[in-house]
């Protein structure tokens, strides 16, 4: 058997195993008498539900024969009203309606709760990542600093953050810091995620810097570069290449960790999933879709980073 054929065979084995596990799960769900209702999911991704047109006063509805014109005359008084711009009339000709009743609907395509949640997850992750990278770089440089105070502070920060659960940190930021500084839930979420991720970024930065041979620092200093210039022009450019792959992993972690902000009053993808479950009673479908949407985000990011890595790997 040729090596490439045998390799394909093993890939086929893996695929077969996955299919087996998948159908096993499917059969198991059959046995617990679960009705799959996938058709309920799309409306929570893309909503066609538009605005309602409501009766401005109590009165009778008049619909023209072709069904295009809608008007109302008041029950008391001589008030009349014409309605335009609707897609569907829900009231019937001659109906008596009261103020606030829906008499017509406008169809409009808009993002459903799941997509809105995905957008919030994306926003909060991206913003946190930017701050986490900045803060992580600073703390990481502090870890390798010659100044003992900077080293101590950076080490203290990393130990405290890595030694406590993110969920607890989110509660502290939201309830304590958020209250003291009057932060919105969104700002508190960004702060908590950025502060948490920065500790890990700092360790990645430190490892990347320490992996650059000592001779590089010596050579840079021997030609008269200052400490800052040595870092900026010699050490960091070389460390970047080593830092990039673990940083990508950390960014993916950040996106996944962002699901924890749903404990604050933030409707991110996870919270949106929970809300959709409570209105559809279809937890299986919803959570699979939510997982897939997270996978989409992290997948795009990991492809992008692989590209970036390849570009940095060109030199030596």
């Amino acid at each position: 058997m040729s090596p490439s054929l045998s390799r394909w065979l093993w890939h086929a084995v893996a695929a077969a195993l996955l299919v087996t596990i998948g159908s096993g799960l499917y059969l198991a769900s059959k046995r617990i008498d679960y009705t799959w209702r996938w058709e309920r999911i799309p409306q929570y991704l893309i909503s066609t539900e538009g605005d309602d047109q409501k009766a401005p006063f109590d009165g009778f509805v008049a619909v023209s024969e072709d069904g295009r014109a809608l008007s109302m005359t008041a029950l008391r008084g001589a008030e009349t009203a014409e309605f335009t711009g609707f897609s569907r009339i829900v009231a019937g000709n001659g109906d008596l309606v009261f103020e606030g009743d829906v008499i017509a609907k406008t169809d409009a395509i808009s993002a459903g709760p799941l997509l809105v949640g995905l957008w919030l997850t994306l926003k909060i992750s991206a913003l946190s990542l930017v701050f986490a990278l900045l803060l992580g770089l600073i703390v990481g440089l502090g870890r390798v600093s010659k100044n003992p105070a900077a080293r101590d502070l950076a080490a203290f920060y990393v130990e405290v953050i890595r030694g406590t659960p993110l969920l607890v940190q989110i509660f502290i930021v939201y309830f304590f810091i958020g209250t003291v500084l009057q932060l919105s839930a969104f700002a508190a979420g960004v702060v908590a995620l950025a502060v948490f991720t920065a500790a890990y970024v700092a360790e990645i930065v430190r490892a990347g810097i320490e992996a650059v041979p000592k001779g590089q620092t010596e050579a840079a200093q021997s030609v008269g570069l200052s400490g800052f210039q040595t870092m900026r022009y010699v050490i960091l450019p070389q460390a970047t290449r080593r830092i990039l792959p673990p940083l990508a992993g950390q960014s993916i972690n950040l996106i996944k960790d962002s699901s924890l902000v749903s404990v604050m009053a933030l409707t991110d993808l996870t919270k949106a999933g929970r809300e959709v479950v409570s209105s559809t009673f279809s937890p299986f479908e919803v959570w699979f879709v939510v997982a897939l949407m997270y996978l989409l985000l992290t997948g795009v990011l990991s492809v992008a980073v692989r590209r970036l890595e390849r570009r940095y790997a060109v030199q030596g």
Partner: protein, 248 residues
């Protein structure tokens, strides 16, 4: 022009004690005059590289005093930048910047430290690359060069700062044998041009041919120094005699 040559490096009783209490250098004294080529030889672990590295502050000293081109170095010297601009260094492992091209390696410090314009630095770099015979490699990355070529670039990089003295720390020890010659040739040319050099090496042929003085170190001490003819022809020190018997 008949003034006595200025002393560029004056080391007095320098001592290097490591944190674990081991003495790396014991009261070593040495002076190097402008235009001189001083070669330091000795067995491994004799402290010769350590001594060399104290001259630009890469190795801190715990006693004594060093005056390099007017800059005083002692136990608690903090600002070494001004000194390092006057003292070039060539390393055993070349230590070129791998993420920069050959030309960028030469231009980095002149632009960032001496504040030359890019064009000035570029011009200076090209002259120096021509001098070490590597002008055609200006656009290469260090990894694309042989060890000998990398070391010649490293020498050019040190020269780009126009130092008063260049320290060579076993410049040929990491090279394949067939590349040693090209590097020594560049160093000989530098010596002929009147560059002040301080060289730690195992190349006895180079020491004999180029050195003005040869220094023998063992156990962190300078045991003797002499002109090459006497050093190799009639070694007086007993320890030096046995060392020379082994290496020659």
């Amino acid at each position: 022009m008949d003034q006595p040559a200025a002393v560029l490096i004056e080391a007095r009783d320098i001592e290097k004690r490591y944190p674990n209490g081991v003495l790396g250098l014991k009261r070593a004294s040495l002076s190097v005059k402008a235009g001189e080529v001083v070669v330091i030889v000795g067995p491994s672990g004799s402290g010769k590289s350590t001594l060399l590295r104290t001259f630009n502050g890469l190795e801190a000293i715990t006693g004594g005093e060093i005056v390099v081109d007017g800059h005083v170095l002692h136990q608690r010297s903090a600002d070494l930048r001004a000194l390092r601009q006057r003292v070039g260094m060539v390393f055993q492992q070349f230590n070129l910047f791998p993420h920069l091209t050959v030309l960028e390696n030469l231009c980095l410090a002149p632009v960032k430290v001496l504040k030359l314009s890019a064009a000035q630095a570029d011009e200076r770099a090209r002259v120096l690359l021509a001098k070490v015979g590597l002008l055609n490699k200006w656009d290469c990355y260090p990894a694309q060069l042989s060890g000998g070529q990398q070391q010649r670039v490293a020498i050019a990089r040190a020269l780009a700062m126009q130092p008063a003295v260049i320290l060579f720390d076993e410049p040929t020890s990491a090279l394949d044998p067939e590349m040693v010659g090209e590097v020594l040739e560049v160093m000989k040319q530098l010596a002929v041009d009147g560059m002040t050099m301080c060289v730690v090496t195992h190349e006895m042929g180079f020491a004999r041919a180029v050195a003005d003085r040869v220094i023998f170190m063992d156990g962190g001490e300078i045991l003797c120094e002499d002109v090459p003819e006497a050093f190799f022809g009639a070694p007086r020190h007993e320890r030096l005699q046995s060392f020379l018997r082994q290496v020659l």
